[in-house]
Symmetry: C2
Subunit: 507 residues, 2 copies
Amino acid sequence: MGFNEISPSEFFYRNRDLAGFTNPVRALYFSLKELIENSLDSCESGEILPELFISIEVDDDGPREDPRFYRLTVQDNGMGVPAGSLPDAFGRIFYGNKFRLKQSRGVFGMGATMTLLYAQATTGKPSFVASSTTGRRYHGLLMKVDIERNRPIIIRKYEGKAYGWRGTLVRATILGDYQKAESKVMSYLEQTAMAAPYASITFRDPQGHQMRLERVVDRMPKPPRETLPHPSGVDIETLRKMIRQWRSGDMLKFMTKNFQRVGPKTAEAFLRYAGIDPSLNPKSLGDPELTRLAAALRSYGNFLPPDANYLSTLGHELLEAGVRRLLNPEFCRTVARRPQAYEGHPFIIEAAVAYGGPKLKPGITVFRFANRIPLLYDESSDVTWKVLNSMDLRSYRVRQEDPVGVIVHVISTRIPYKTIGKEYIADRPEVEKEIRLALRDAFRELRNYLSRKERMVGVARRANVYSKYMSLIAKFSMELAERDRMPKYDILIPKGMEQDIEEAQQG
Amino acid sequence: MGFNEISPSEFFYRNRDLAGFTNPVRALYFSLKELIENSLDSCESGEILPELFISIEVDDDGPREDPRFYRLTVQDNGMGVPAGSLPDAFGRIFYGNKFRLKQSRGVFGMGATMTLLYAQATTGKPSFVASSTTGRRYHGLLMKVDIERNRPIIIRKYEGKAYGWRGTLVRATILGDYQKAESKVMSYLEQTAMAAPYASITFRDPQGHQMRLERVVDRMPKPPRETLPHPSGVDIETLRKMIRQWRSGDMLKFMTKNFQRVGPKTAEAFLRYAGIDPSLNPKSLGDPELTRLAAALRSYGNFLPPDANYLSTLGHELLEAGVRRLLNPEFCRTVARRPQAYEGHPFIIEAAVAYGGPKLKPGITVFRFANRIPLLYDESSDVTWKVLNSMDLRSYRVRQEDPVGVIVHVISTRIPYKTIGKEYIADRPEVEKEIRLALRDAFRELRNYLSRKERMVGVARRANVYSKYMSLIAKFSMELAERDRMPKYDILIPKGMEQDIEEAQQG
């Protein structure tokens, strides 16, 4: 019958479409993206202002034209990976530090390993990883992945002085197509800088052109923290695991220690509702009690809402700084909604609407972010377009050809991605509703701005006509009166109007 | 730093959105779908006319309203699972018989295990699986999955006489929402029957209503067979694995034995192109030679196209039988394109356009299939809509309100799914092009039909007028002539026209 087992590495290597590694164009984009996101996560977890060096170089061992071999390097100044974890962190699928209830860019913990896998399969070359957690010494590895065993293969080890550098460096040579990937790569870098305006990024492209995205603020946002699960989202298997790991104490203590926002009062009320004795030892619960407990967790309506203090938003100031750098619009309005929850996971929507300026093209351009990651593929499936399509933008005085930018940022301890490539977000009704409310707010402000602007244009036109004819009337009057000096008619133009004219002319 | 490893079961359990298990509605749908697809794959691999029994029953241990506990049962008459493989086939992620180059509904080999996982996590109940490969004895297991270890937990074993039954039975109790899932479940069953008109399916819903989808043909299509990889799609890691498993023989033999459509002549020409000595032992190839070999495989343009003999299409007859049963349209045109390939994987597009009949609503309705699986979610992202949106249907005389059904079936040894839930297919240019050509053909026939129909309507209208006035003229003539018997005017209506009228009136 041919039953057999394959390793996680082999599974994802065979099905690399799932992780975004579909072809040399996407693979180049995804490799870079995954490495950058790891770097930013690492900096932010240590509250370090990120300083990233990224380069893509041609490797002439491969073909002479695209798709060809490219050597990618991403270096950060983050927390670093301890020497003991280095081989597994890069050489094993399902090994990492992302499997926690904490807001982070990475979710699945396989981006770097997928990059190494793809590198060795397409170019045959091992990758180089190095890290220092102290700034004193660094540890480096020339390595590959043993695909059939899902284990690292270490080819050579390095160790040396770090000269104050703390962080991680990854270098992998992959088959890529930079020509076709370039515009996505550039958009990704620009939008990443927008969502992390406190990061500095240096990028060198294969032609040797260097681009520097300088941080525009020196303040890090409050970092995200790890959190306990909210009780309403917990099922039997999770309960079992909690009980296995439980050291000592009764059900009352168990409830308060394992869940967020459950104090003794809530725990008592809930256990009464569930019909479970608060003084019971959790380890004595049998299958029927566990089932009852899980059902009660689902149906109990009086838990406090999930705690959003563990989330790290951009906030108005950073969001606006980011939008201004990316789009330099003539108008920008940011909105930050209050925390909400879906299935026990807290989330926050931040949004902005921008208008005009040198970068926006006619029509609506959408910029989507999730936990500060720009989402560039499969836009049409996204919930933001669903919301926009259902809004009548003409009622906000937005005409079809108006240059409008719509920025939506979803922040959560758990973004409900539909794909491992994190291309797009499942549309949850709760998320959809918040996006709608945020955009409505922002578009209302845009309408006010556009009305004022229209009014100004009217004032300016009238003032223009007025001042033009005023000079003619003055001239005729002068001739009629047979004088040879013009009257001082400009004092007749009201002061306020002059200001209006100026404003209107500046747009 | 919190680095740790999680098991494949735990990974997919945590991220069950990836596999479609997003909420009780989708989970019910996906559980059923995955079990049915396994059953059909099993029947077809043995060339057995499928006979499926499916039931969904309420389990009153859970809540009294949706979402509540449902006991799903899917039983088939397929090849069965050997007793020794039974625990792992259902109790381990990444263990199965789908990891081959062969057209099948299942690809990722995790549907059944995900169902068991979801069952135990939401209802706490173990699942029951039973199978017989001979018809003499069956083996059964009451079991769960050890999520942290990705291993089966056997609670009880069963064994007994099978009384001639060969096949597999799975019964799992999950938290589901049948009320909201019902319409998707029904569409899925109807469309599955459409794509497998040789299968009989009995379905009992939670209210006890029984539905029987009887097979409409008694002929199985040619079964798909396992194939060797096409040389153009093979990378260094795959080459390494082939070489490790290679027993004896030189490079020439290696090429002909490991790849499809490579005979001694092709092998010789290719090895000359790659600069590799045909008499070399493959095991002696070093890294640089391997890299060169892989590059040559990618760039060599003279391989024969992938072999489509391993694919199993429906064919005109079965496709039309399926469409007629599903839609009972007044017009149906099927198209089967010739085999093509993307990245070394052969694929075939079958399509149909249907018009009118009692089931189609005004506008375009799309029915998508991939290796006979109906795809019901995320339709807007699919390549078929991309093609339809780019076609000007008015040029085919299709008006917006016309009831048109578009059926597209993609068949391949490897469907490039974007998600583990198999919701939709990545749009490959090669696939897109074939779909466009197929639909163009079918729509041209529809245009001819609609023109003829329009003409008929004109003829009928004229004939109608003609026959109406004819009787009046006859009557007036009778009165004028002062006769009291009408002349036999109906012989004046041409015979052909009568037939036209009838046809036109029947639509």
